[in-house]
């Protein structure tokens, strides 16, 4: 085994900076870019670097950079809700399944199998498209679709904990099942759950922007990275910034979250390897 030297926390710093910036965009866009959707039809489309427009403008004269900043919340809030919702379902059902076992476990596992047989994009596309749902319908659908993986993950983690001595002693002590599950096992599962949640945020971000790219989700003129990507198709020759900026934002945000999530997972594994 490799000797572990204490490393400087490079990853959190490197990922933390862009994420902090995005967080600022999400929370404070109302104050940073209050006029993001302001039109200026006389200006029309301009390319990156024109006066006052770092990333150019679209056909209605809206500044691409400002739209992107305003679009951060649409890109990020939904995925966070999805990851949270999915993990809550995962924790609830996964803990029961893992600890109780038996037919409950079987049922939940088969339910998870059922949902996993369906590709995310396809189901989200079909459901949201057929009911003409918007942003939040998509969020709901994705929560449903992400939950099986979380259920399984939590279940596996709970099962791994169940054999441990401290649980045995809790059982011997006669502690109630619910108490054991949620007061003793769960705290040990949470770190891994948290890092998985982060990874889910990244995945949900990519999925949701893909769906708005396909035309579901937000309406025209509403700031959203996926929507901006789709709109850029008509702007490419006049303003390449309209493609590059939202694309880079999606990549950077997803990558940063992924890196952070991975790093957390690794740290958890390290600390749990010690017996």
């Amino acid at each position: 085994m490799k000797l572990r030297v204490t490393r400087k926390p490079v990853v959190p710093i490197v990922t933390g900076i862009p994420l902090a910036i995005i967080a600022i965009f999400v929370i404070a866009s109302r104050w940073i870019v209050p006029n993001a959707t302001r039109q200026d039809i006389m200006t029309g489309v301009t390319s990156p670097g024109t006066a006052g427009h770092l990333f150019g403008t679209d056909q209605l004269g809206r500044d691409i950079g400002q739209l992107a900043i305003a679009g951060a919340s649409s890109a990020v809030v939904g995925p966070i809700v999805i990851a949270l919702g999915s993990m809550m379902i995962g924790i609830l059902l996964g803990t029961f399944a893992g600890y109780m076992g038996g037919w409950l476990d079987l049922l939940l596992s088969k339910y998870a199998d059922l949902l996993l047989a369906l590709p995310t994009t396809l189901v989200a596309l079909v459901v949201t498209g057929l009911v003409d749902g918007g942003y939040w319908v998509t969020v709901l659908v994705l929560i449903m679709l992400f939950s099986p993986t979380d259920i399984r993950m939590v279940r596996g983690s709970v099962i791994a904990q169940t054999g441990r001595p401290y649980i045995e002693s809790a059982k011997v002590l006669g502690l109630g099942r619910l108490r054991i599950m949620f007061r003793h096992i769960l705290p040990n599962v949470l770190p891994v759950a948290f890092s998985t949640m982060l990874l889910n945020v990244a995945f949900a971000l990519v999925s949701m922007s893909a769906l708005s790219f396909l035309g579901l989700g937000v309406g025209p003129g509403v700031p959203d990275w996926g929507r901006q990507l789709s709109d850029s198709r008509d702007l490419l020759d006049r303003n390449w910034g309209s493609l590059v900026l939202p694309a880079m934002l999606i990549i950077i945000t997803a990558a940063a979250i992924n890196l952070l999530g991975d790093w957390l997972q690794e740290r958890y594994e390290e600390s749990s390897v010690a017996r």
Partner: protein, 332 residues
């Protein structure tokens, strides 16, 4: 890996664990799964907002006579169950009804397109496995090295990159500047078709490879951390022998997860097909959903789900055959 747990449980449930028995049980489970899915897919017609008959009329002028004839044709006034059974019966005969948009049978519409999507998927899959698995193994073998870190970083970018942006980038670089690959269309069949699918396949593989790379790396690292590796080392097994042992064991969870990867593949083809203007079932689905062409949507959803379920089944069987631990336990 968690799948390992559920599979071990399952084999415990089979008292005598012969392969045939296993297959039968899994087939039955898959069949049940598909039945439930088919029920849900059928119900889409009734779950979609609006009157089903009205939805089936599409853009034609709605007259009371037309609505009535649609109701008769699709037996919409019958009890739900008998409608479902009738629909299921048709489906099992390969009849998915008519497309609302085109007035042709759904099967005709799907015929050419299924082939293209299959070709695209398989090409992507091959590219992904060939690229990501060896890299995953190499990275796992040397965790923390420059190789590991750089490929991991690249894969993280790959997962986040929007399909449209990657596709367009590849088109410009390899289609236009270097003029190696054709810029549009799906070719004239045969080799030309595969050649046309290279850029789309690479685009699709970029996201997929990142996932598979991570999976492989995690699986191999997990195996390397197992006790038996230290044990084998202390017993003097050669490096090569240990490696093949570790890899064989690691490939099992990887292979199992590849089944899941296939599920993501299908969703991914939708985006790539739209980006590259390919006439596969992914782009057809996107168009049909926005148009609410229900028969087509139902057919594609069901076909995809079936395909994935069958793939998962095959992977399960393979897993059962390959994993000595599972088989041994079964033989007790």
């Amino acid at each position: 890996m968690d799948t390992a747990h559920s599979h071990r449980r399952l084999t415990q449930l089979i008292s005598r664990g012969s392969l045939t028995r296993f297959i039968i049980v899994r087939l039955a489970a898959t069949g049940l799964l598909l039945l439930v899915l088919s029920f849900v897919v059928f119900a889409l017609l009734h779950l979609t907002p609006g009157d089903p008959a009205r939805n089936l009329v599409g853009v034609r002028n709605v007259t009371p006579e037309l609505l009535q004839s649609i109701r008769d044709k699709y037996h919409l006034n019958d009890p739900f169950i008998s409608q479902y059974l009738r629909w299921l019966g048709n489906v099992l005969h390969g009849d998915f009804g008519e497309s609302i948009r085109n007035n042709t049978t759904v099967t005709t519409l799907l015929a050419d397109r299924v082939m293209l999507t299959l070709q695209l998927s398989s090409l992507s899959f091959v590219l992904t496995v060939v690229l990501a698995v060896p890299l995953g193994i190499a990275a796992a073998w040397r965790t923390g090295s420059v190789l590991d870190r750089s490929i991991s970083a690249a894969s993280i970018v790959g997962v986040g990159a929007p399909t449209y942006a990657v596709g367009l980038l590849l088109l410009y670089i390899f289609g236009l500047w270097f003029n190696i690959f054709p810029v549009y269309g799906s070719g004239d069949g045969g080799f030309d078709r595969w050649w046309h699918l290279v850029l789309p396949a690479i685009t699709l593989a970029s996201g997929l490879a990142a996932m598979v790379f991570k999976l492989t790396r995690t699986a191999v690292v997990a195996e390397l951390n197992q006790d038996y590796v230290v044990f084998a080392q202390s017993r003097g097994l050669t490096h090569r022998q240990i490696r093949s042992l570790v890899l064989r064991n690691a490939m099992i969870p990887v292979a199992t997860s590849l089944g899941l990867v296939f599920a993501f593949l299908f969703g991914g083809t939708i985006l790539v097909e739209v980006t590259f203007a390919l006439q596969g079932i992914g782009s057809l689905l996107a168009g049909s959903v926005t148009f609410k062409d229900l028969p087509v949507v139902q057919a594609i959803t069901l076909l995809t789900a079936t395909f994935i379920a069958l793939t998962a089944l095959s992977v399960d069987i393979l897993y059962y055959v390959v994993d000595p631990r599972v088989r041994k336990r079964g033989k007790q």
